[in-house]
């Protein structure tokens, strides 16, 4: 079975630094994650999450500063609301809830970052590869109205 592909949107000030710390502390965590640095977890538009799933990523992780510690004061509060809504809505649409996960990881929490990635990767292995947007039917395609 192929390895799940996970994309992580990490906020530059906390979570990305935390991931760096995991590296410099030689904490082991699965190599399934591909990291995209964003200035703040509040930058993450649910559009990115859906696009990642559309492209074939098996899961998306959004990680930011703990509430109250956002470099931009309120960005992560917005992320919290947006992700909560997105999770519920995607579940209603029929997307496996394990595919969108989120965490608060501070710059000093290298260990936590490694744990989060390990757990999310495990979840994705259980839930299986993302087949949501496969099926090349032409639908409205070449023939018929």
């Amino acid at each position: 079975m192929s390895e799940p592909q996970l994309v992580g949107f990490l906020c530059k000030w906390c979570s990305y630094a935390g991931a760096d710390l995991a590296g410099t502390s030689r904490k082991k965590y699965p190599a399934n994650i591909r990291i995209i640095k964003v200035p703040c977890s509040g930058r993450v538009d649910p559009l990115f999450i859906l696009k990642a799933l559309r492209l074939g990523f098996d899961g998306v992780l959004v990680s930011g500063c703990h509430p109250g510690e956002c470099h931009y004061q309120t960005g992560n509060y917005r992320a919290r609301r947006r992700i909560a809504i997105t999770k519920k809505f995607l579940k209603y649409m029929g997307i496996e809830p394990q595919r969108l996960q989120a965490s608060w990881v501070s710059a000093s929490e290298g260990g936590k970052f490694a744990e989060v990635v390990t757990e999310v990767t495990k979840d994705l292995k259980e839930v299986g590869p993302n087949q949501l947007f496969t099926d090349e039917r032409q639908g409205n395609g070449t023939k018929a109205a």
């Binding site: 032409q138 409205n140 395609g141 070449t142 023939k143 018929a144 109205a145």
Partner: protein
């Protein structure tokens, strides 16, 4: 050749016979929306409810999306694979005169300067079995545009409902071949012919919506710069694509490449001049304002197309009026042009 007729109870048999040679398309309901879809071999209930479809028959020739070719990148070069020409034979059963006329109007664009192989392959492999309208909508206005509910000029075979049967009039050689290959046909009597004429005249008289198309191109040319008029006319439009997508004579398309890693395909899909981004370019958008776009849409159909091809690019099918979310009405816009010529 004397006309034939077919009893309605034998329509299934007729369609089955034709299905041996063609993919037969009949009016169908998909989620309560009337469209032309491939006949399932059984259902002819459309005889009870069919007036006209929501999606126009242009979808069978210029599909909503189609793959033009696929490509693979190999060592700095592109390997291109063009799909084989669509040779499948289609039979569209029940196309209305307005929609058939629209196809003839579309042909002019797709053979002008460049012969579009995709469109023309389908057009050449399709036979059109038309059906006289018996119940025009209150949005229909074909009679103002050199059309009528019984106009057979653009089909291969024309059917007219004369009660328990359909009168069948062959128009082209293809139509004659269709009749020759059919079964269960009877000869039409002179009573049948008179009934058919009655039905056709009655249908034409049911059309209540009219426009004055005389010199409409000149009137539009004269009011081209009337910003006040066009702003008023355009005010309630919401710039969606419904009128253009559902119009049987609209043909604008977009071309997009879809690529994943080193391979992909080039697609063609419907586009609309009503969209604000239709004419958007890096430095400017000449039709940024809504009234520019509405003016263009109307003039394209009623002024520019006649200038280029000698015919108004509208057949009065009325879909734009029926389905517009704000009931924007082209007949009102045309009938209230503030210009006398």
């Amino acid at each position: 050749m004397a006309n034939k007729k077919i009893d309605k109870k034998n329509i299934s048999k007729l369609l089955k016979k034709w299905s041996q040679e063609f993919s037969v398309f009949v009016p169908s309901l998909e989620n309560n929306e009337a469209i032309m879809a491939e006949w399932d071999g059984k259902d002819i209930s459309f005889l009870d409810w069919y007036r006209n479809t929501v999606k126009p028959p242009k979808a069978n020739f210029l599909p909503l999306m189609e793959k033009l070719f696929s490509f693979k990148k190999r060592k700095g070069n592109y390997q291109i694979e063009v799909p084989p020409a669509d040779k499948s034979k289609q039979l569209i059963f029940g196309i209305r005169p307005c929609d058939a006329r629209a196809l003839t109007i579309l042909d002019m664009t797709f053979t002008d300067a460049y012969e579009d192989p995709y469109y023309l392959a389908r057009r050449r492999n399709t036979v059109l079995v038309g059906m006289t309208c018996t119940d025009p909508y209150d949005s229909c206005f074909c009679t103002s545009l050199e059309g009528s509910p019984s106009d057979a000029a653009n089909v291969d075979l024309m059917l007219t409902d004369i009660g328990d049967s359909f009168l069948m009039e062959a128009v082209t050689d293809k139509g004659k071949k269709l009749i020759a290959s059919a079964s269960e046909l009877k000869d039409a009597t002179s009573a049948d012919e008179s009934k058919a004429t009655e039905v056709k005249d009655a249908a034409a008289s049911k059309i209540t919506r009219k426009i004055d198309a005389r010199d409409i191109d000149k009137k539009l040319l004269a009011s081209f710069d009337d910003k006040d008029y066009w702003e008023k006319v355009a005010a309630k439009c919401i710039s969606c694509g419904i009128c253009t997508f559902l119009c049987p004579t609209c043909y604008c398309f977009d071309i997009n490449d879809e690529m994943v890693k080193n391979q992909g395909a080039r697609f063609r899909n419907w586009d609309s001049c009503a969209f604000p981004v239709y004419t958007k370019m890096p430095m400017e958008n000449p039709r940024e304002e809504k009234w520019h776009r509405i003016r263009q849409k109307v003039c394209h159909k009623y002024e520019f197309y006649p200038m280029n091809f000698g015919v108004i690019a509208c057949t009065g099918c009325g879909r734009c009026i029926r389905l517009c979310p704000v009931n924007w009405d082209i007949t009102q816009a045309l009938n209230s042009l503030p210009v006398k010529v």
